[in-house]
């Protein structure tokens, strides 16, 4: 079993709280310095939490490129005189960075713990279960897509040298079997769940229970508190 990072060892609830509070604060705030401060705090949390920086960069490489492109477009095409466009672009880009990095924190943890966390946060089990099953199926669907892509290539489809219209048609040919397979899988799974008593009683029990420790409670309180204090400081100066 792989060794967990400090963030990975935390209860999922403070991580959910951190993600929600940081993202909300940055979306609501209209001040570049405030957003930059939150971003710095977030990066510090990720580093102290032992998150693998190279892994973060690899996972979100495409999003970072997209944010950089948005920055350039916003700077030159916002229609605002200098430095208005630049400031707007910086604010928008930093906001997106905060949302993405806050989301990456959730990757430090196990899906099964998030299910329990959502339930212990009083989310209905059926809803939490659907969210988790959806996340669980993403890699399986991806694997199916890769298999179909390989099969089509083995049967003579040359994706690289296709025209755009041909490509669209070919990718439709990949999507349809995945969709049909997903529906069939969902059907079988619903039968399996039914035969194992899913929703047969008004409630259910849970073999495991999550317990908040000192570090979890501290993070749950500290992050929103620092966000509020930072906001107040920005307002004063």
């Amino acid at each position: 079993m792989t060794k967990k990072s400090r963030l990975g060892a935390l209860d999922p609830r403070p991580k959910l709280m951190l993600m929600a509070s940081a993202s909300t604060a940055c979306i609501l705030a209209n001040d570049l310095i405030y957003i930059a401060s939150v971003l710095c705090m977030l990066i510090a949390t990720l580093l102290i939490g032992g998150m693998d920086v190279r892994l973060v960069l690899r996972r979100a490489k495409a999003i970072f490129v997209l944010i950089a492109m948005l920055f350039v477009i916003q700077t030159f095409f916002s229609g605002l005189p200098y430095p208005g466009g630049l400031l707007l672009a910086a604010m928008l880009s930093l906001r997106l960075l905060v949302v993405v990095l806050a989301g990456l924190i959730l990757m430090e943890g196990e899906v099964r713990d998030y299910l329990l966390a959502l339930v212990q946060m009083k989310m209905p089990y059926t809803l939490a279960f659907m969210v988790v099953v959806g996340l669980h199926f993403l890699p399986i669907l991806r694997e199916e897509a890769v298999n179909i892509y390989c099969c089509m290539q083995l049967r003579g489809k040359d994706f690289k040298n296709m025209k755009l219209t041909e490509k669209v048609r070919a990718y439709t040919g990949i999507c349809l079997p995945i969709l049909v397979g997903a529906l069939r899988r969902a059907d079988e799974m619903s039968v399996a769940m039914e035969t194992r008593g899913f929703r047969s009683r008004p409630s259910r029990t849970y073999m495991r229970q999550l317990k908040m420790r000192g570090a979890d409670i501290a993070l749950t309180i500290l992050w929103p508190a620092i966000l509020v204090v930072l906001y107040e400081v920005e307002c004063v100066f």
């Binding site: 196990e110 099964r112 799974m189 399996a192 039914e194 035969t195 194992r196 008593g197 047969s200 849970y206």
Partner: protein, 246 residues
């Protein structure tokens, strides 16, 4: 009163509402307690459909035209709409052909706990039951693993563990060894023998019938009908071969 684990009387089923090819025609079958029964027949002969009828999946979840009676421990399930699938799961459990379709949780032990938790079993009892079942299926070392990372044989053992944790008296296996190597098949045979020793009634759907020559009953099916049902030594191999491949 009839208390046989399974008794089927004059069962007919068609997937289509009108004029469809019948999947089952006049099926009569009795399965005694603590026995191993193997359903044999060519693809499309109605073996899986019969299993789904025994578990109540047909007609409760998969609809079609059903006639006849299916008794599970004396309770008629095919025509009684008040019986829920979940209540049947305490008496009869189905291990599907593809284990991936049956594994619903993201950790091995959570998947085994899924059924007992749904039945509101107290958490300490769920923990004991999960540990015991994982140990029986030789999966203790994989308790916290992601099921998608398991081998084919391990996934199948997990699917069995998930059903076993529901505590059914009857266990139905749909083509359990079709995707296993010879070591996996041997392991599965050992599991079936252990379940039989524990007093469970076992029903297996399988093409490779020779693997289960220790069964108490072979049921030979063709085109939705039962051709013969008897002890393996009483059924001529030539008959089985001719019904299967011709």
């Amino acid at each position: 009163m009839n208390t046989n684990p399974v008794m089927v009387r004059g069962l007919n089923f068609s997937y289509e509402e009108e004029g469809g090819t019948p999947a089952l025609c006049g099926v009569d079958l009795t399965i005694l307690s603590g026995t191993v029964t193997v359903l044999i027949g060519p693809s499309g002969c109605g073996k899986t459909t019969l299993c789904k009828c025994l578990c109540g999946i047909i007609p409760k979840l998969i609809h079609g035209v059903t006639n006849g009676e299916v008794f599970v421990f004396g309770r008629e399930i095919a025509n009684d709409e008040s019986i829920a699938i979940s209540s049947l799961s305490e008496q009869i459990g189905l291990v599907m052909q593809v284990p991936d379709h049956q594994i619903v949780m993201t950790a091995v032990e959570d998947d085994v706990a899924f059924g007992p938790e749904n039945r509101m079993m107290p958490p300490p009892e769920v923990r004991d039951l999960v540990d015991h079942t994982l140990s029986e299926m030789d999966l203790t070392q994989k308790a916290e693993a992601d099921p998608s990372a398991l081998s084919g044989g391990e996934k199948q053992r997990l699917a069995i563990a998930g059903v076993l944790a529901m505590g059914p008296e009857i266990m139905v296996f749909d083509e359990p060894v079709s995707s296993l190597d010879s070591a996996g098949r041997d392991h599965f045979v050992q599991i079936v023998k252990a379940l039989k020793e524990a007093g469970k009634t076992i029903i297996i759907v399988e093409h490779d019938f020779e693997v289960f020559d220790f069964a108490d009953q072979w049921v030979l099916m063709k085109e939705g009908r039962i051709v013969c049902a008897s002890a393996p030594r009483e059924i001529p191999r030539e008959l089985v071969e001719s019904e299967l491949w011709h």
